[in-house]
Symmetry: C2
Subunit: 245 residues, 2 copies
DNA sequence: GACAAATCATGACGCAGCGTCAACAATTGA
DNA sequence: TCAATTGTTGACGCTGCGTCATGATTTGTC
């Protein structure tokens, strides 16, 4: 019977299945394209069953974001342990952030959850999970800055904490990624290669803070592309798979 | 008659009236809170009449954004002509940008239009208007950078155009503003004063590019707060009025 | 001032999509 | 074997967008 053949499919990790189905829809057709009825019918379940797993549509988006942020965290952690020199580690994290943003099916989710319409309707539990992810990411990078201070590679300017110093890099990276993704035709404005442009700014900012070892931009670029390749290989599954599927 | 008393109200600038009504709703209750029926009933018009002015709900949001960007442009222009020294002018524009972002009823609109769900459904005409505003803003700031180059206050690094140099400042400013507005509790992460933090980064970046005249952070701060006060006074009407009303 | 043409206003209607819930089915446990 | 519990279903209520036939108002013309 039809009922039986569906029952054979696991009942356990349906939540993961839902998310797996929802992610590409959200990527390809946006928030409008994702409807509970559609999700239900494509899964061959009734709508009510979905609501046994998620209290509302917004919570599905947050759940996707948790998955994505988990990936971001892993990439950042991998990048931050791939060297012993704090400045190099920070640059490597920059490469991780670039790579993450290039995977639109992950990065775009972050834009959705910063939308108050979505954030506010999701469950507090899920909201908290996201904040934890964010906190852990900040923890990695701020810790790294503190290492640099301990080693005397970096002197924090009067009035800036390690977290606040990192916030600048977070802002410029995230800001440029948002603008690149949403500003229709940066190229028309004269910005042809935003990624490389922002690399240049981060490099200048690092030198501006006199974060040792000072290097030239060539060396900076070489570090970034090397780490970028390493990460791309390490996380190929999570990046490529989810694009095609 | 009831019909007459409403007719007495101007028939001409109803579009402006609609926007005036819509803005505070959008600010206070978000995109969900803004409904065509509500807008219509609060204006004492039928829904169909609204659709004589705007093809859809999204277009209203873009129209609001055009108004806001117009204000941003004026503030930037005022800031950029309030000194003859390019570096000071750029810092003043930074103050304008801070001030603009502090007016949530304007800044929040920008977040909405970067949402593809909204952008894509709006009319091409309105989309184009927005892009023009953006272009004009970039024009001011990039022109300023070019002035600096002409005066030998600034040497563009190999591979960066004036626009690309400006893009860095745009990204860090905008990024920090988005994060401040949407990251629930930056303070928990250790960022207590994002605005002043980003001032510090911009200052460091300017020095990093060796943009003359090099100054100390004290001087930078003083410039910013002076310009901030000047702008606040000049644009008091547009900032305060729209908050209360 | 009378009448036609053009313009504008109206709100009932069709439709899509969210979330609920009473009814029903399956599973568990004794 | 028969509760009791747990899981599934889809029709239903409701909100809100955008349309359009109908009717009102204005404009233009003689």
């Amino acid at each position: 019977m039809a009922t039986l053949t569906r029952k054979q499919r696991e009942l356990k990790d349906r939540e993961a299945q839902i998310l797996k189905l929802a992610r590409p829809i959200l990527l390809r057709e946006g928030y409008q394209g994702l409807s509970m009825e559609r999700l239900a019918s494509e899964m061959e379940y009734a709508k009510g069953t979905l609501y046994n797993h998620f209290p509302n549509k917004e919570d599905i988006v947050l759940a996707l974001a948790v998955e994505s942020l988990e990936l971001r965290f892993q990439m950042m952690e991998s990048a931050s342990t791939s060297s012993s020199c704090p400045r190099v580690r920070l640059v490597n994290i920059g490469a991780a952030s670039e790579l993450f943003a290039s995977a639109k099916e992950h990065f775009a989710i972050e834009a959705w959850i910063r939308n108050s319409t979505i954030w506010d309707k999701a469950s507090p539990e899920r909201q908290q999970l996201i904040q934890q992810c964010e906190g852990r990411c900040m923890g990695i990078v701020a810790g790294l800055a503190r290492d640099a201070v301990a080693r005397r590679d970096l002197v924090l300017p009067q009035g800036l904490s390690a977290e606040e110093l990192i916030f600048g890099f977070w802002s410029i990276t995230y800001g440029s990624q948002v603008l690149s993704a949403s500003s229709p035709s940066l190229a028309v404005l004269g910005i042809t290669n935003p990624v490389s442009t922002i690399r240049h700014h981060c490099y200048t900012l690092l030198n501006g803070f006199a974060w040792q070892p000072i290097m030239d931009f060539q060396a900076h670029e070489q570090l970034m592309s090397a780490e970028s390749n390493r990460l791309r290989a390490q996380f190929a599954d999570y990046l490529a798979n989810s694009v095609t599927h």
